[in-house]
Symmetry: C2
Subunit: 342 residues, 2 copies
DNA sequence: TTGTACGCGTTATCAA
DNA sequence: TTGATAACGCGTACAA
């Protein structure tokens, strides 16, 4: 039956004989109190069992220290790892993260953002692709996009063109007869589109003709697996058995599935297939055969994202709030991690 | 230079000629206004561009709608999937999730919880193992533990004993000569300990002598992989080549790595190994060879966790707050998913 | 170095 | 059906 007695500044003010202001100062400007009085207040805090209320604090000073994150899903290793890296930034910055799982419906995600605004988030990290950056920009919240279309907002992306080039060059050097890309459909505004152009460019430079297979990949793991199986069959039937087929897939998960199909059919990984994934997530490490992949430096991307976001947040908190003149776009160079599949 | 003008109830009260109270009612008890006046206020809202401030609301009514989540990591598929399922509950319950990544240091995790308390979370979901349930209970926050020690708090766990039994029985039926468990060190209070006892019991029932290999698995993927490789070598050298070795591992990720080691050595998955994992996460699906595993019904666990948490939260919000007499522990039955490895 | 008085944006209580 | 007023817990000018 013990009642929940919330101890407030008023209580500890009464207890110590100071005013609420002094108590407040104890937390925000400790040095302005004498050591003796600091101790008095500290004692009162302990005795009365004070627990701070940051919501009240936020209401008073406007700094929520909240960052909203909208992330498509966590079954793709890439997003899970990125989220983990972002969350880990708490220790450095002290921001708290309100996380929403995007669900691809514009209206719903819009509602998520409204909710986040209602909680006075100071910043927003968007990994979901659903809402155009133009609309996001209009919210007037410091925002950073990671690996998505971001014309009107700040962004961190891997240099996808470079990645595409690296993959193509590696496959060509590896003696591939056929150069095949497997990817999803996405608009040219998507940063991932750069991979396609980069891949194609590198091929043309060597006077080679690349092939692009695009498919609709839905949300569930099973259906993706199914689709990959179909694509493998298609490739395996269409190209001559003795050709060396170089296949560059949209991410490690897809690539890993592709490798699995190859193994299912050929038992051992044959010389006639070269496979390259993208991201270098743990999916690449878990792959049955060491998966060659284009690595995104995830840690660096997460760090830079937080730095860029923090910059905007700090600017906005100044006495005369500032804004970036125009969105900053940071491109991070990928690197090729050569393993067994290419 | 457009100034950030925050529109408040006061503004729309002035605009419409009503009082703040009436405006508040518009949101919380719409029907108590005439339709006509509802429309007036709705118009004012649109015209002035009102955005709600839930922080102020929370300060006034005490309901933050926050749930804190403390999760060990997201590189293990199990946690990532569970987090995704939990986050998805927003649509059903409307709770917002403040997510912290645990880091195994008691002091640090304690600080996380203090921070969560400062934001007046209404509930807490703990997947991390660091802080004993007794201490967690003392925080007096509605709490649910998922798959961890939870003597003094509510919990959702898979029936680990049952899982261990199923694995043992399946391996025995499969004609295994040796019955080996690979697991981490954990205290008997850990729910996962039940797997060991369940496995052993089932073995003894059939007059078989199980073997337990325990090892310290650290945090990074590489080191885990290394450790699994060592264990595989150890097993492969120690047991006769022609014996059928049944190996039951702590989770799908470990099992998948183990399978990978087998393949590395034997190219094809041999008849002399039977492998069973645990969880049935995507790691099991991604495994090179279809991995037999003990499935945790994750969706059901997440749903029940939210339901149990919500129950406690609702009880606490009553006019005369109630509490569960004693912690509720829900055990969910696992199921064996037979694939190719056993 | 400390205190007074008011504001932050909403809800709750009581009255009309 | 509506309104006045006091909370909620803390920060911040401004004054002392």
């Amino acid at each position: 039956m013990a009642k929940e007695k919330k101890v407030t500044f008023a209580d500890i003010a009464k207890y110590t004989g100071f005013s609420k202001t002094t108590v407040s100062r104890f937390f925000n400007d400790r040095d302005s109190l004498t050591l003796e009085n600091q101790k008095k207040i500290q004692d009162a805090l302990d005795v009365l069992g004070y627990q701070e209320n940051k919501l009240a604090k936020v209401l008073a000073n406007g700094k929520s220290e909240f960052i909203g994150i909208i992330i498509p899903n966590l079954y793709l290793n890439y997003y899970a790892e990125m989220l983990e890296l972002l969350l880990s930034c708490y220790d450095q910055y002290g921001y708290k993260f309100l996380v929403f799982r995007a669900n691809s419906k514009e209206e719903v995600e819009r509602a998520y953002i409204r909710e986040l605004q209602a909680y006075k988030i100071e910043g927003l990290i968007v990994l979901s692709h659903t809402i155009p950056s133009q609309e996001l920009a209009a919210f007037q919240i410091p925002t950073v996009a990671i690996e998505r279309e971001a014309e009107d907002i700040c962004s961190i992306c891997v240099d996808n063109e470079e990645g595409g080039r690296m993959a193509a060059e590696h496959l060509i050097e590896d003696g591939c007869d056929d150069l095949i890309q497997v990817n999803t459909f996405f608009p040219q505004s998507s940063p991932a589109y750069g991979r396609i152009t980069g891949f194609n460019q590198a091929c043309h430079k060597k006077s080679r003709q690349p092939v692009l297979i695009q498919a609709e990949f839905s949300d569930t793991y099973e259906s993706i697996q199914q689709k990959i199986a179909e694509i493998f069959e298609q490739i395996d039937e269409h190209y001559p058995k003795d050709h060396i087929k170089g296949v560059f897939l949209a991410n490690d998960t897809y690539a890993s599935m592709f490798v699995k199909q190859i193994l299912r059919k050929y038992k051992e990984f044959p010389d006639t297939y070269k496979v390259i994934g993208f991201d270098n997530t743990r999916a690449a490490q878990e792959c049955a055969v060491g998966l060659t992949t284009i690595a995104q430096p995830m840690k660096e991307m997460a760090d830079q994202a937080m730095e860029l976001l923090n910059l905007q947040m700090e600017m906005k908190k100044k006495r005369i709030p500032e804004t970036l003149d125009k969105p900053v776009h940071i491109k991070i160079s990928p690197s090729l991690v050569a393993r067994e599949t290419a």
